[in-house]
């Protein structure tokens, strides 16, 4: 509202804010936060106590995606909606567009979370990080997201405030970019109700996945939360935002540059080097736009630091914004190839992400919860003291979590790369490097436990707060009707023009975020020379294909990479470095992003079938000290091949060159290969009359195939 043009009091319109939907989302945020973090704690403890992998449904490979999805989409997702539904109404001086849509949105989103919580432990997964949910749930997400969009833009259309505040720019950019990312990364062809194959394969799938994965961090964990910061931080501090112009520059720069940086997740992989370089330089350019947000947050607190000392809301926010600044500096540094050569595949990355999620997202959410709930219940916070204790538990929890992981990452990476003067690896056994960092894993779990305990304290505090107040379901408000748009814009700052035009703002943001993605994905998909072909690479046999899908079901890619980087320390340990042409039939790619266990890209032919059999039955028997859980159900369950013909047909549609009519012959081929492996196992003392029908045979077939297509030879001839 313009302040100088004072409207007469008589023209005020009376309306009310919907606080009930805010309450719903606030409760969901707290509940799913506790669940998601507890699952994370379980996963952290499984590293130290492998016995905690109780059943197939609770093995680390299935629990880890459950944790990431719950933390991102359930905890932070509901947190976004809580903050948006609270602030949007007040910033636009109007009620949400439609109460009905609000509740469809709320229940729809909870249903999706429920579907994720059910399918992921069952092994129904696409294996693509932060996009593990299968295609029917993907469609559900799209629908709910569109409903949220309609509700948001409907509210904007009915606003009583001509100009949109910076928080809303961030909400709009979030909405459009998440839509684009979700659709782009979910391009997949269903095989059955719970199985699909992605449109892209191998290196192209990897690029699309990390374009998505990186920008899920950017546009689900960052931009909406910057929007929340821009509303709740100045409100809580009662201070004006430091710089309007800084908001403008860092908003547009951030959304434009962020999109390009995805390839920094694939440095030194088989991704073409031009794409890797784009990832690096755009990550460096991202430092200043990211810090713009931190500066505008911290500098807004000038003159309010005395309040920060006593107000738990502000305390949480200060640490959140600082953690944001630290994580967004660390990210670009990790994108330098020389740093990435050390950090990638180690726990350094895990520590980095958690400074962002626990520090920035977690603590900002806590601050917003402590801000909103007393207000919508017309009361004070039950106990400021408890909130202060929570603040310290959260802050120390983040530190206790992250510091041991930085240490672990460095230690393990250094051990991976250590050679003896004779030219052989000092720690040739991967397990030595795992066992060296188990104490750090234990400390990390302690840090996580402290953080979760803080959340329990918060929930207690919030319950008591809610009990001592009563919900103001419809909070009365009054505002003058929407004033006419100024005829000209002479004398006003240029950006004011777009601030009163939501459609143009939406279109502008869309164009800005599309540029980077198209510039990287299009050449990668269209230009054939980006993936040099290798003659010897052939499609997977039916049994190998089924084995691969079991590998995906069990989430093996959460701990094992399939991407050997061109370093001496990697080729000495694993064999010839990976080449893009080897992955052209990989739908989806299974490169992985973290090595809790060794890389598997060249594991084919390294061990006997019977070694794999015993290893799956009890990893400690073949690899003493291993923290991998046993997979004895693979030895017991019969392989379900009912979808095999459909799988072959789907892959043919996507371009895998199986001969025509192969779908009908695939089962017979599968039986022959299974028989061979079963006989081989029997010769080595495995006693099971139905061996050839068991899942273990398929996964052994897949593992023995891995990386064997090519003989070691360099892909690129030396220039000189």
């Amino acid at each position: 509202m313009m302040i100088d043009g004072t409207s007469p009091a008589t023209s005020l319109e009376h309306f009310s804010y919907d606080n009930k939907i805010v309450k719903y989302f606030a409760y969901a945020t707290s509940f799913w936060g506790l669940i998601g973090m507890s699952v994370g704690l379980l996963a952290a403890l499984q590293m130290v106590f492998p016995a905690l992998n109780f059943t197939a449904e609770t093995t680390f490979g299935r629990i880890r995606p459950l944790h990431t999805n719950a933390a991102i989409f359930a905890f932070v997702g509901n947190g976004i909606f809580m903050g948006v539904y609270y602030s949007l109404q007040r910033l636009l001086k109007t009620r949400m567009f439609s109460d009905k849509l609000s509740y469809v949105h709320f229940y729809g989103w909870q249903l999706i979370i429920l579907a994720a919580a059910l399918t992921l432990p069952l092994g129904i997964t696409t294996s693509k990080e932060y996009a593990e949910l299968e295609w029917p749930i993907d469609i559900g997400i799209a629908l709910v997201w569109i409903i949220f969009g309609i509700n948001m833009f409907g509210t904007i259309a009915r606003r009583r405030e001509r100009h949109l505040y910076v928080a809303i720019w961030f909400y709009i950019a979030t909405w459009v970019t998440v839509t684009v990312l979700h659709v782009g990364n979910s391009l997949e062809l269903p095989v059955s109700l719970w199985k699909s194959y992605p449109l892209f394969a191998g290196v192209q799938d990897a690029l699309v996945q990390w374009w998505y994965g990186h920008n899920a961090v950017a546009f689900f964990l960052t931009t909406p939360y910057l929007g929340l910061m821009y509303y709740f931080l100045p409100k809580a501090a009662n201070r004006p935002v430091f710089s309007y112009r800084l908001s403008i520059i860092h908003f547009w720069a951030l959304i434009f540059i962020y999109i390009w940086a995805g390839p920094h997740h694939l440095l030194y992989t088989s991704l073409p080097t031009w794409a890797q370089s784009l990832g690096t330089v755009f990550s460096i350019m991202l430092i200043a736009p990211s810090w713009g947000g931190m500066l505008n947050g911290l500098l807004t607190l000038r003159g309010a630091w005395d309040k920060v000392r006593i107000d738990p809301v502000l305390k949480m926010m200060v640490v959140a914004v600082t953690a944001y600044g630290m994580a967004t500096l660390e990210g670009p540094l990790l994108s330098l190839k020389s740093v990435n050569a050390i950090s990638h595949y180690t726990d350094w990355t895990v520590g980095h992400v958690h400074v962002g999620t626990l520090g920035w997202n977690g603590m900002l959410t806590f601050g917003v919860l402590y801000y909103i709930l007393p207000r919508i219940f017309g009361t004070q916070l039950y106990s400021r003291k408890l909130a202060n204790v929570h603040f310290w538990m959260a802050t120390l929890g983040v530190l206790f979590y992250a510091v041991p992981l930085y240490w672990a990452g460095w230690t393990q990476s250094a051990m991976w790369k250590q050679f003896l003067p004779e030219g052989i690896l000092q720690y040739g056994n991967f397990l030595e490097t795992v066992n060296a960092i188990l104490p750090m894993y234990a400390m990390r779990a302690f840090g996580g436990a402290v953080y979760v305990a803080g959340v329990v304290l918060m929930i207690y505090n919030l319950i008591r707060t809610v009990r001592q107040g009563s919900l103001i379901a419809n909070e009365g408000a009054a505002a003058p009707p929407l004033e006419a748009s100024p005829a000209g814009h002479r004398g006003e700052y240029w950006h004011r023009w777009i601030e009163r035009r939501p459609v143009q703002l939406l279109v502008g943001a869309t164009i800005v975020v599309l540029i980077g993605g198209l510039a990287e994905v299009f050449p990668m998909v269209m230009v054939e020379s980006n993936v040099p072909k290798i003659e010897a690479v052939t499609p997977y046999s039916p049994l190998e294909l089924e084995g691969r899908d079991l590998y995906i079901r069990e989430g093996c890619n959460n701990c094992h990479s399939q991407m050997i980087r061109p370093f001496r320390s990697e080729t000495a340990r694993y064999g010839q470095y990976s080449m893009s042409g080897e992955f052209i039939y990989d739908r989806p790619h299974l490169w992985g992003s973290k090595r809790t266990g060794p890389d598997l890209h060249r594991v084919g032919g390294k061990y006997l079938d019977s070694w794999h059999y015993q290893h799956m039955q009890n990893p400690q028997s073949t690899s003493p000290g291993s923290i991998m859980p046993p997979y004895e159900w693979l030895l017991e369950r019969k392989l379900d091949i009912s979808d095999l013909p459909a799988k072959i047909r789907t892959l043919q549609t996507l371009g895998t060159p199986y001969p025509t009519g192969y779908a009908e012959r695939a089962v017979a081929d599968l039986r022959i290969q299974a028989k061979d492996i079963a006989n081989n196992l029997r010769e080595n003392g495995v006693d099971d009359p139905e061996l050839e029908q068991k899942e273990i045979v398929a996964i052994i077939a897949y593992l023995q195939r891995l990386g064997t297509d090519i003989k070691p030879k360099p892909q690129v001839k030396l220039k000189k």
Partner: protein, 339 residues
């Protein structure tokens, strides 16, 4: 006179000492830099400047043979010379600055004595104390309107009570942004177009070649390294113990804790798939038998380690552990003398 002037200017003997030290260092530096082959500076002047010369100093790649005096300097010396020139320039600047200030002080002293009314006109007494350069730099770099004066820059709009200030972009932030943007083309040029651009595959080949040379150089310093042709059975208790340690860590998962066999064959009987002499056992451990699932250990165990573990294995002959796997392969009887 000089004493009077200095006292008046508030300069004490410490400053003189600093100045003297500087002059000595300055002279020494000059001598060090210019004493090197004075006559060939003309050659230097005629040399075309190499592409990104300064970065050459930092780049690990060997620079091409380069005539002239600079070539005779090591990279470190070049860097030192560069730093010295910088120090000298800074010193010259501060000398100049100091003399101007001394002159101004002297002028002020004279004016105060003979024409105090002129000083009044200038308003020197009313001037505020000047700020130190770092204070000025800080203010210039942050460029924020102080809180007391921010009423002047509050923008005339508010959203649910949230107001916005019209502070400038912090210049240090803008500078950082420009620098990071400028890095992009330089980075792309160096990684993809310059003489130093190596693809990951090329860099890998260089890494392997250098490492191999280093390993070979090391191996040359080691006398008679053990291989499958010259290996002998070790019988000292120390060696057998060391072999046992390796065996239980690396071999027992497949061959059993007592070498009774498991995934791999029994190693305690007289039957061998790949030969039972110490040379054969050494070779089998070293190179593995991939088609049978025996992995090569040469990338994990040093020759001496392999010798120890082979000796340990052969020390287990006829121990008949429980649950022994049935014999496989051909019978091999060790000769009476093991050496």
């Amino acid at each position: 006179m000089a004493k009077y002037l200095l006292q008046d200017a508030g300069i004490n003997w410490l400053a003189i000492l600093a100045l003297l030290t500087f002059v000595i260092v300055f002279t020494l530096a000059l001598i060090m830099v210019f004493a090197r082959r004075k006559d060939s500076y003309r050659d230097v002047a005629q040399q075309p400047l190499k592409d990104s010369y300064l970065l050459l100093l930092l780049a690990p790649a060997p620079s091409p043979p380069y005539p002239g005096p600079l070539a005779s300097m090591s990279e470190l010396e070049l860097f030192a010379a560069f730093v010295m020139v910088l120090v000298i320039l800074l010193g010259l600047w501060s000398l100049l600055d100091l003399s101007f200030k001394l002159m101004a002080l002297q002028r002020e002293r004279l004016l105060r004595k003979y024409h105090p009314e002129q000083l009044q006109e200038v308003g020197l007494e009313q001037l505020e104390p000047t700020k130190a350069w770092w204070q000025r730099l800080y203010e210039r770099m942050t460029d924020a309107v102080p809180i007391e004066e921010e009423a002047a820059i509050v923008l005339n709009h508010e959203y649910d009570g949230v107001r916005e200030l019209d502070n400038n972009l912090p210049p240090w932030w803008t500078g950082l942004f420009y620098v990071t943007i400028a890095i992009a083309p330089v980075y792309v040029y160096f990684v993809h177009f310059s003489d130093f651009a190596l693809s990951p595959a090329e860099a890998y080949d260089v890494e392997m070649t250098l490492a191999e040379a280093k390993v070979q150089a090391y191996l040359k310093t080691q006398e008679n390294s053990v291989d499958e042709n010259n290996v002998v059975l070790l019988e000292e208790a120390d060696a057998i113990d060391a072999g046992q340690m390796i065996f239980s860590a690396k071999c027992s998962p497949c061959h059993g804790k007592a070498a009774e066999g498991g995934i791999g064959p029994n190693l305690t009987d007289e039957y061998w798939l790949h030969g039972g002499s110490v040379n054969d056992v050494f070779r089998t451990i070293k190179n593995g038998v991939p088609e049978k699932g025996m992995i090569p250990w040469k990338n994990e165990l040093r020759p001496r380690d392999i010798q120890e573990v082979a000796s340990y294995i052969l020390s287990l002959q006829s121990t008949n552990p429980a649950n022994g796997k049935e014999p496989e392969g051909e019978r091999y009887i060790a000769e009476a003398t093991s050496k």
